[in-house]
Each structure stands twice: as C-alpha cells, then as structure tokens.
C-alpha cells in the first residue's frame, strides 16, 4: 500500500476566504513555512460563498480532497458569513458521513491572516490524511463514463 501512495500525489482544492485564510496562506509563503504543494487555491470573498455544490463538483471532477478555510468566528469581514458557513457545513458533513461518500476528503478550518504557521500545519496534515486514503474515490464522473464505453453501454 505504501509504495502505491508514494506515486499517488493527491490533488486538493482549497477554497480560501480572501480576508483571512488567503492572507494567512500568503504569510505562510513569505515566512517560508513548509507545506506540501498539493493544494490548488481558489480565492473566494467569504467562506459562505462556497456552497456544498462546489465541494461535490470538485470531488466529481476527480479532486482527492477539498479544503475550505475562512475567518475565525467574529472576524468575518461581512460579520455573519462564517456563521452561515459553519451551519451549512455542519449539516453537509453529517450528510456526507451518513451517505458514506468519503467524508474524510473534506476539511474545514478557520485560519486568520496572522496564522501562517497554522495554515501550513492544516494543509500538511490534510494532505497526509488524504494520501493515506489512496486514489480510489467514490464520486468520480470520468470513471463511470469510461466504464460505459468499454462495456458497450448498459
């Protein structure tokens, strides 16, 4: 299992809120905090902008993990944004567990603009956890499409 994981470099989609986590990631970069290069950052204006629809779409398109990071409660530039995100993903994470679709492939975090080190740690830990899961994913569209061709349709 370990050998296969070495070759397997998970791709993580990271939605970072512009005011805190994106700045935190910047700080991590400038202060040379080491963290794995597997994340592809998408800057959003608030963690509440990221609908669970986006998370499902990322997994559908073959992402190995999705990270959503926003401001700590109380720091939100729009006051209530991260409250809504917290409620929304409390429901969504429970639903993912209930249905059993790779709940470990989604991670949410609060990282403020000054927590460069924490950002590095969050990413490193998440990438390591996802790598351990291996490439087999449950929600990937291309797999079903390819199966449809070889099998000559249903």
């Amino acid at each position: 299992m370990a050998q296969e994981n070495e070759a397997y470099e998970p791709k993580i989609i990271a939605f970072l809120c512009n005011w805190c986590s994106y700045a935190g990631a910047d700080l991590a970069g400038t202060s040379r905090t080491q963290y794995p290069p597997n994340i592809r950052v998408i800057r959003v204006m608030c963690s509440a902008r990221v609908e669970p629809l986006f998370v499902l779409k990322a997994l559908l398109e073959g992402a190995d993990g999705v990270l959503l990071s926003g401001c700590h409660i109380g720091d939100c530039h729009y006051l209530k944004g991260n409250f809504a995100a917290r409620r929304r993903y409390a429901v969504f994470v429970e639903l993912m567990k209930y249905v059993g679709i790779d709940p470990e492939r989604f991670q949410m975090s609060w990282v403020s603009a000054s927590e460069g080190a924490k950002f590095g740690k969050v990413v490193a830990d998440f990438v390591e956890r996802v790598a351990r899961l291996g490439p087999r994913k449950r929600l990937e569209l291309s797999e079903s499409l390819e199966k449809l061709i070889e099998g000559g349709g249903t």
Partner: protein, 350 residues
C-alpha cells in the same frame, strides 16, 4: 371523513365559490380506483360536488401553490384568495412557503380537515397481488375513516377494516397531528393533543451501520435513479425557476443574455450515472436543510423506489439536534442560515 363531514366540506367550499370570495379552491377528486385520488381545481359550484376527502387523498396539494405561481390558475388581475384543503401534515409545507414569501397568508383560504391517515398505493398493490384485495374492491369499493380505522365499503355493502400498517403511508403511521395548526375554516374538531413536529427517530438503524455498509446501501439506491425530477417537481419547498442541478433550466429567462447561457457552469450533465445522481440527490437533500418539512411526497412519488425519506429525515434530525431549528414550525422563524447561535457546533472545524 364521515359523509356528513364531507358534505360539510363541500358546502363550505361551495359557499365560498358562490359568494365569489375565492378565485378557486384546491381539493381532491376520486382517482383511477378506490384507493387513489387526484388534485381538483374547483372554480364553479359544479366542480365542488366532485370534491372528496377520504383515506385515498394521498397527494399533497401544497405543491400546487408553487405551480400556481408558475402557471397561474386564474388571470393576473384576480386578487381573490385561493382556497386549499389542508390535512395535519400539510400545514408545515404552507408555513414554509409563507416563510419564503412564495405565498402570503392572506392569499390563502385554508379549509382544515381531520385526517386519520392516507393510503400508499405501492402497499395496496402488494395486497392486491397477495389476493387480500380484489379488483372489484378497486373498481367499486369506497374508502372512509371510522375514528382511526381505515374502512373499505365493498360493492355488496359490506364493511372491511383494513390494517393501518399494511395500507397507510409510512408518515401516517407516525402522524403527529390530524388537523392543521393554521386554518380559516375547520371541518370537524381540532386535534387538541397534537404532538407538534413529526417524530424523526426511524433512521437509527442506518446511522448505526459502518460507512462502508452505508455507502453500499446508498450506492444501490442512487444508481436506480433515472433523473425524472419527480422528487423535485413534487417538492413543497423546491420553487426555483433556475435549478442549479438541472442543466436544462440554466439562463432560460428571456432576459438572460447569450453570455449567461454560454458561461453558466454546468454542474452536472443530463446523464443518470451514479456520480451525477449522487450529486443531484445529495444537493437536493441538503437544500432541504431547514426547509424540508418531511411531507414525504418525494418518497411516495419516486418511480424507482428510492427511500428519499431516509435522506430528508436525517437532514431534519441533524438540523433539530444541531441548531434546535425545525422547518414548518412557525412563520416567525427566520431562515436557518440567517440565524446563528453561540453554541452552534464547530468541532469539525480545525
């Protein structure tokens, strides 16, 4: 509903129609056999005589308040209220629609009725196959309540009490209240000892299973979906014109520009493969957080037998457990994501 109660309901509707206070009224009429009914739009006195209310009245009429917004049942300028007959479990759906400003309370005239449970055709068909019901019962029988009993009056005048568990919808077996909490006219007495919101604890067995077992279960359920969109089109809260998970409805208003049509992301295709179905059904499930009142019409209508009620009841249970919030509780509640509390859970957040 005894025949006197039915006459009372018909008279109440007829009087409102005659007095011209309503632009129309929604009720049921007898369907393709004794155990089924279909919605009836009453506009004239003659229509009112076809109105029925019996254990066969399973379809929910609340969806037609959304249909009325999209395909008006009367000309635009007719501002009179629309009548609707509501059972105990329907009032939650109407409250949700009022909360989301799909309808204003004064736009509706609600006839409250005392419902003791409506039939599930899939269960009735099983009885038919086992020979416990005959096709003569289907053609010439009539259904009625006697207190909590479901009684079938056969053609030769005999009465047969049917076992509730083997004919009624699952939601009716754990019914939380026979009569609606909001109404303008009440036919029969109000159910005083209403238990409030529905009991939601029949999903324990699935929750106790392991993640693998649960995925096995849901994978076989979701792979059966043929994306006929009946669960969305019958839903009492799903009222979006442009549905994010229906690629056909993107940028369709005549005001949408060519740019919108070309650049609108297509979340899923029109295929019915497992990943797209999972995306569709999961998105529908969590869109129901704080909005779905578990009227279970989606579960009743799914032609491929998906147990959608288990998804919705899970979301409803979590929303109640995590936020002490329930859809359809009262029109003063704000939207779920509009409110927040200090003790909202955040343990899953790093």
């Amino acid at each position: 509903m005894t025949s006197t109660r039915l006459a009372e309901l018909q008279r109440a509707i007829r009087e409102s129609i005659e007095a011209g206070t309503l632009r129309g009224a929604l009720c049921w009429e007898q369907g393709s056999n004794a155990f089924r009914s279909r919605p009836l739009v009453i506009r004239t006195v003659a229509d009112a005589s076809a109105a029925i209310f019996s254990p066969a009245c399973s379809p929910s009429l609340v969806r037609f308040l959304i249909e009325d917004n999209r395909y008006p049942m009367s000309p635009e300028e007719d501002r009179r209220p629309l009548g609707i007959v509501l059972r105990g479990c329907d009032d939650r759906g109407v409250i949700e629609l009022i909360k989301e400003h799909q309808k204003r309370r004064e736009e509706l005239m609600i006839f409250g009725v005392d419902c003791r449970g409506t039939v599930d055709w899939t269960k009735v068909r099983k009885l038919l196959r086992k020979g416990m019901l005959s096709s003569d019962d289907l053609d010439h029988g009539t259904l009625a309540w006697k207190e909590d009993d479901i009684v079938l009056f056969t053609a030769d005048g005999k009465e047969r009490v049917l076992d509730r568990k083997s004919v009624l919808l699952d939601k009716c077996l754990i019914c939380e209240g026979h009569t609606p909490r909001i109404f303008d006219v009440m036919i029969g007495e109000e159910d005083k000892n209403r238990k409030g919101m529905p009991v939601i604890d029949d999903i324990e067995s699935l929750e106790r299973k392991s993640t693998e077992e649960r995925w096995e279960f849901w994978q076989s359920e979701f792979s059966r979906c043929i994306r006929c969109y009946a669960c969305r089109n019958i839903c009492t809260y799903c009222s979006c014109e442009e549905c994010a998970i229906d690629p056909r409805t993107q940028a369709i208003s005549d005001k949408s520009l060519a740019r919108d049509k070309a650049n609108r992301p297509q979340w899923i295709g029109q295929d019915s493969m497992l990943p797209s179905n999972t995306f569709y059904l999961l998105t529908r499930a969590y869109h129901g957080a704080g909005r779905c009142t578990t009227c279970e019409e989606c579960d009743r209508t799914c032609p491929m037998g998906l147990s959608l009620r288990l998804l919705n009841r899970k979301v409803r249970k979590d929303v109640k457990r995590l936020f002490e919030y329930e859809a359809g509780r009262s029109t003063d509640d704000g939207p779920l994501y509009g409110e927040s509390r200090e003790e909202d859970p955040g343990d899953f957040i790093w």
